[in-house]
């Protein structure tokens, strides 16, 4: 399927931001370290946000409970990786991967199962009612956090990086942390998978069409409700995966971690254009870079800088960098 020509301007925002930061940071090696860290953080946020933006776009559902899938994924990873501690503590990277990958898969499966129940019992009764969606999904997230406390306890749990993921590659004076590169690779794989699904399959075509005009998709004979459940479950699973990556990034997990990340996710999907996965990728990379650059230059302004970035982007493109045309 040939795609419509891509608007390249938003893609240039990421290198533009990096170039603007270079003279402000001064040291090229610090800049490189921060840029890789920002891209890694952005990729993790993208993994989390990609499903949510489709849920927003496809069914116009304001799911403020997305964070619970992040936290659940991270906590499941602590259990799975804890049970495989011999492998995570090994210096053999393949043994590390043999522990991390199952942890990711189990986290995704558990988050997907919770997503299925969440959609059925919390989201479905409030379709088309935005205020109720906000309230009930936030309530759902609080319930989820409490359940996590019941199962794993309220305290912070460490999620140490496997031995092979620790440390950094030193290039000149710059240190490129191994785990951050791993996160970038996983993020790129998720993006490639989503791009393939959305652009090369009939299901993807239906999702893209549904994001634009779900009523018309139904008029063509497709049950968009089933599609929505599928997308919701996929989004939950990706949030679970993102939770594992985020937990390992922070090297610890707390039940409230989902709510903490929620702010960044909403900035990302609003900036990207509701329903646009490419927009979510651009938004996530911008947020990741901005958080790292300002964290280094003006630590107290880290969150404010991302909100300011969102405001600037929305002044340029009020519906986000890649707005969905029919919405």
């Amino acid at each position: 399927m040939k795609q419509p020509e891509l608007d390249l301007k938003p893609l240039l925002l990421v290198p533009l931001l990096a170039l603007i930061a270079l003279p402000l940071i001064g040291s090229p090696s610090s800049w490189l370290t921060l840029t890789v860290a920002g891209l890694a953080m952005g990729m993790i946020i993208f993994v989390i946000a990609s499903g949510l933006t489709l849920v927003f776009g496809l069914m116009d559902v304001l799911n403020f409970g997305h964070g619970v899938f992040i936290a659940l994924g991270a906590f499941v990873a602590t259990s799975v990786m804890g049970a495989m501690s011999d492998w995570t503590q090994s210096a053999n990277v393949w043994l590390n991967l043999a522990a991390v990958l199952p942890a990711m898969l189990v986290a995704m499966a558990v988050a997907a199962a919770l997503g299925l129940a969440f959609e059925r019992f919390i989201v479905q009764p409030v379709y088309g009612q935005h205020l109720k969606q906000i309230l009930i999904t936030m309530g759902g997230m609080i319930m989820g956090e409490e359940l996590i406390k019941v199962i794993w306890g309220p305290q912070q749990i460490p999620l140490p990086l496997p031995e092979g993921f620790r440390g950094a590659w030193v290039i000149g004076d710059a240190a490129i942390e191994k785990y951050r590169m791993f996160a970038v690779v996983i993020g790129l794989m998720v993006f490639a998978g989503l791009a393939w699904l959305l652009n090369r399959t009939k299901v993807g075509l239906l999702i893209r069409a549904g994001v634009q005009d779900r009523e018309m998709v139904e008029s063509l004979g497709y049950r968009i409700q089933r599609l929505f459940v599928g997308v919701f479950v996929m989004g939950s699973a990706l949030a679970g995966l993102g939770g594992v990556l985020w937990g390992m990034y922070q090297q610890s997990v707390v039940p409230q971690m989902g709510a903490q990340v929620n702010v960044l996710i909403f900035i990302v999907i609003i900036m990207g254009g509701l329903g646009s996965t490419l927009g979510a990728l651009i938004g996530a990379l911008l947020v990741g870079l901005m958080a790292n650059y300002t964290g280094f230059l003006f630590p107290k302004l880290a969150l404010f800088s991302n909100i300011a970035l969102m405001v600037a982007v929305l002044l340029w493109r009020p519906q986000g960098v890649y707005p969905i045309t029919n919405r």
Partner: protein, 237 residues
């Protein structure tokens, strides 16, 4: 083929259709006329299940579809082109067509013979095959919307204001296309404001006012009766 019996539709607190009775005979083209706000679009949307009838019965080939969901109605062979055309602007023309062909997974799966027929009816569809639908002109979008509706054989085609906002040359093209569709055996139900368009194509006509069908008969009979035209539509055809 399609029969509406005493159909009432409420949208929120508003009572829009007040007992619509309408029959669409098989193989014919039925025009639904009426002033703005008469309930024509609501009637089409109620047939498609986009709004559910609060009272009354809608049957398609004798089967009650009043409570059916939109996808089920579409799967029974009913194609619908809404007033805004419902074209997916961010998808290419090809993707729009592929989407409507429920059995096809790839563009290569589309029925080549049928596609050639559609290209003859609507050359713009072939010309702009790989273009984003959002970049098409209003007339080209309307052609795509109708072409998409017939990419697979359908027994009933419902189109809401196909000539709205189109240039005269495009309207002539649409009239030719609908005439050929009718000749191919498709049953059509069109809502129209353009009375000349309606007169040139219609076999049957139903006129709506205040949420009811106030006149039903042949288009020929309405065309021949100037007084009736004035009484129903406020002007002569």
């Amino acid at each position: 083929m399609l029969t509406l019996t005493d159909v009432h539709t409420h949208i929120g607190a508003y009572h829009i259709l007040h007992g619509v009775n309408l029959t669409v005979p098989r193989g014919q083209l039925t025009m639904l006329l009426g002033r703005n706000g008469a309930g024509k679009t609501t009637t089409l949307r109620t047939i498609m299940g986009l709004w559910h009838a609060s009272q009354g019965r809608i049957t398609l080939d004798g089967q009650d579809i009043s409570a059916s969901h939109t996808p089920d109605i579409a799967q029974q062979g009913v194609a619908y082109v809404p007033e805004n055309m419902g074209v997916f602007a961010d998808l290419t023309v090809q993707e729009n067509m592929l989407l409507a062909a429920r059995q096809a997974r790839r563009a290569q799966d589309l029925d080549a013979q049928r596609l050639a027929w559609i290209y003859k009816l609507f050359p713009a569809v072939e010309k702009f095959w790989h273009h984003p639908a959002g970049k098409l002109s209003g007339g080209q979008k309307q052609m795509l919307a109708v072409a998409r509706a017939i990419v697979e054989p359908r027994q009933l085609l419902i189109v809401d204001e196909p000539s709205k906002g189109l240039a005269p040359a495009i309207i002539d093209n649409m009239i030719d296309a609908f005439a050929q569709l009718k000749a191919s055996g498709v049953t059509l139900l069109l809502v129209e404001q353009n009375l000349s368009f309606a007169q040139r194509l219609g076999d049957q006509v139903a006129v709506m006012d205040n949420g009811r069908v106030v006149h039903a008969g042949t288009m020929q009979a309405l065309s021949d009766d100037t007084d009736l035209q004035h009484q129903l539509l406020g002007l002569a055809l």
